[in-house]
Symmetry: C2
C-alpha cells in the first residue's frame, strides 16, 4: 500500500511529518510512504530520524507549499507546484492509494474539487469526523468541506457516513440524525426541511432517526450526525472549546478543594484530556473522492501524523469506496449539482 | 413595574410558574405580576402557595395553551385564546412592561412577529443568551428566533448584543465576533461574508474583532458572538451537551480513582454543574421588540421561573430599548426586509 503525505503541511512544517512517517512505517509492514515536499529538507530530517525502512520511503520533490492561512483557491492557482496539489495529482493518476495532509484544510478540499475525481454518482465530497459520546463514538459529516450544501448532498452524506460507521467503527446498523434546532418535523430552515424529506421518503428511511438537537450528540443519541459543513465545523471546534473549558473549571476547583488526593485527581483529568485530544482521533477522511484522502489537524504532533497515516491505511483496507458507489447508485436521481 | 407571565408555559405547566412568581414578588417590592392562564387553576395553586403579596398579583384568564411541541404558527392560528398570544397582546397595548414565558419558544417568537411591534428600525428580533467563558460571560445572538437571517439582521444583532453586554453585563467596551469556520477574511458562506463586510465597513468597525471559530467562544475571545439562529441554537444546546458529557466522564474517573476524598471531589463537581446549569441564567431576552420579552427554558423549575422574571425586571429597569432605537438609527440604510 502506498500513501502520499503532504510533508510540508501543518503548523510545524516538515519535522512532525517525517517522524510521524517513521512511526507509521514501523507499525505497518506493507506500507510505503511518498513524502511530497522539499526533498533536500526531507532527506536531512530523515538522516536525523534514527532507523527507518528506507526501502519504503520515497520522495516527490516540489518547490512550493500552501500557507496555513492562505486563501485556498488563490494559493492553488498562484503556486502550481505546491505539495497539496502534487498529492492530489498522485492520487488522481492512481500512483498512490491514499493521501494525508495536516496542511490548509480548505486547500486540501479545493485540491480535491479541482481534480473532480469524485466517486461515481457523488455530487460533493464531505469530511467525516469522529466524536466521542456517552455511548461510544459517532460520526459527524460534514465538518467543513461544503459550507452551503444542497439537500441531496446531505442525503449522500447520510449514505457515506453510515457506511463509514459500519465499516470503520463496526456499528452494525447505524442510526442517522439530522442536526436541527428542534426534534419536531418542520423545524429549521429550508435546507434541513428539504433534507428531512429526502431522508424520510428515500431508501435510508429505516435508518433515519429524524431531527436531533445540539445536546443529543454527546449523549450518543445517533451514530451518524448529518449537517452542513458550516454547522459541522462549529460543532467540531466548539466541542473542543467546551471540553477544555469544563476541564479547566474542574481542575481549578479540585486544586483548591482537595488535599492529599489532589495529585491523583489532577492526573486523572490529564488522562481524560489526552484521551479526548484531537490527536487521539488522528485524521478525518474526505469521503466521496476516488481514493482515500485524510485531513489531519493543523497542529498535529508526530504521534498525530502517525495516527492520520494509520487512518489512511485502515480506510484503504476497508475498501469503503466500492460500497459507497453501490449505495449511491440506489438513491433516487437528484438534480445534477 | 408590571410583568405578565405565561402561567401555562413550560414542561411542568402552571405549578412552577405560580411558585416562581411568589419568589420573584418577595424579591422585588415594586413588582406586580399578571398571570395569564386558567384562572381557576391558578387561584387554587396560589391558595396552596403560602403567604404572598396578593395585592401585586393579577390574573388574565384564557382558555387555551400552546403545547411544547406544537407547530408555532398552526398553534397560534388554531388557538386564538392561548396564553402566549394573550401575553403579547398585553405587551402590545402597553398594559405590562414585560412578558415572560417558559412555553414553546417558537410560538413565543412567532407571537412577537405577529404583533409586528418591533422597535423602530429593527428588521427582525433575535434571542440573546449568556454563555459562561474562561474570562467571565459572553452573549450569543441569535440562538433561535431567526434561523435564516439576512446580513443586515446580523449587523443589527451586533448593535443590540453590544448594548446588552454594556447595559446588563457592565462590560464597558464589548468586542463583537462573527461566528465562522475560520478566522481569515473570505471564510464561510455568502451570509457570513456579507455580514463581515457590513461590520468591517460600518459604524461598528472599531468594536468588531472579525471572524471567530467554535473554540474561541468559551475561551472568552469576544464579548458578543453574532450568528444566525440555527447555528446559535446548536451552540447553545451543544455546549450543554458537551458540558454534561465532560462532567460525566470526570465524575466516573474520580469515582473509580479516588479514595478518602472522593465525596469532596464529587461535591465540587455538583457545585460546578449547578453553577453552569441553564436555570442559573434564568432567561434570555428576545431583543428588538417594543417592550421586554424573556424566554425561559422549557424545563424551568420554580427557581428558574423566578430567575427569568428577575431578568425581565432588570431589562425593564435598564431601559435598553431606548438605546437600541438610537443606535439602530445610526446604521446605514438597509434593504427593507
Amino acid at each position: 500500500m502506498r500513501i502520499a503525505l503532504d510533508a510540508m503541511g501543518g503548523d510545524h512544517g516538515a519535522p512532525p511529518n517525517v517522524v510521524g512517517s517513521v512511526i507509521a512505517l514501523q507499525t505497518h509492514a506493507d506500507l510505503s510512504i511518498v513524502l511530497v515536499g522539499d526533498r533536500a529538507q526531507l532527506e536531512q530530517l530523515f538522516a536525523n530520524a534514527g532507523e527507518y525502512p528506507a526501502d519504503r520511503v520515497e520522495f516527490v520533490h516540489c518547490t512550493q507549499a500552501v500557507g496555513m492561512n492562505e486563501k485556498p483557491s488563490d494559493a492553488l492557482r498562484k503556486k502550481p507546484d505546491n505539495s497539496i496539489s502534487r498529492c492530489w495529482q498522485l492520487l488522481a493518476e492512481k500512483s498512490v492509494d491514499g493521501i494525508v495532509s495536516a496542511g490548509n484544510t480548505g486547500a486540501m478540499v479545493a485540491g480535491g474539487l479541482f481534480t473532480r475525481k469524485f466517486l461515481k454518482g457523488v455530487r460533493r465530497p464531505g469530511i467525516a469526523t469522529l466524536m466521542p459520546t456517552a455511548k461510544g463514538k459517532c460520526i459527524i459529516m460534514d465538518v467543513g468541506a461544503n459550507v452551503f450544501p444542497k439537500a441531496n448532498h446531505l442525503l449522500q452524506y447520510g449514505v457515506m457516513g453510515r457506511l463509514y460507521a459500519q465499516t470503520l467503527l463496526g456499528i452494525e446498523n447505524p442510526k442517522i440524525g439530522l442536526m436541527n434546532v428542534g426534534e419536531e418535523e418542520g423545524k429549521g430552515h429550508d435546507l434541513v426541511q428539504q433534507t428531512w424529506e429526502l431522508f424520510k421518503q428515500g431508501p435510508l428511511k429505516e435508518h433515519f432517526a429524524g431531527n436531533i438537537e445540539g445536546r443529543d450528540i454527546h449523549r450518543g443519541k445517533v451514530d451518524v450526525v448529518i449537517t452542513d459543513g458550516f454547522v459541522g465545523n462549529v460543532i467540531l471546534k466548539l466541542s473542543q472549546g467546551v471540553f477544555e473549558y469544563t476541564l479547566g473549571l474542574v481542575s481549578h476547583e479540585l486544586n483548591a478543594g482537595l488535599g492529599a488526593e489532589k495529585e491523583i485527581a489532577l492526573k486523572l483529568l490529564q488522562g481524560i484530556a489526552q484521551k479526548l485530544h484531537y490527536s487521539a482521533v488522528g485524521g478525518a477522511p474526505l469521503l466521496g473522492v476516488d481514493g482515500v484522502c485524510i485531513i489531519a489537524h493543523g497542529s498535529s504532533s508526530e504521534r498525530a501524523i502517525a495516527g492520520a497515516i494509520n487512518v489512511a491505511v485502515q480506510n484503504v483496507r476497508a475498501k469503503l469506496n466500492e460500497k459507497i458507489i453501490e449505495a449511491i447508485a440506489l438513491l433516487p436521481a437528484a438534480p445534477t449539482e
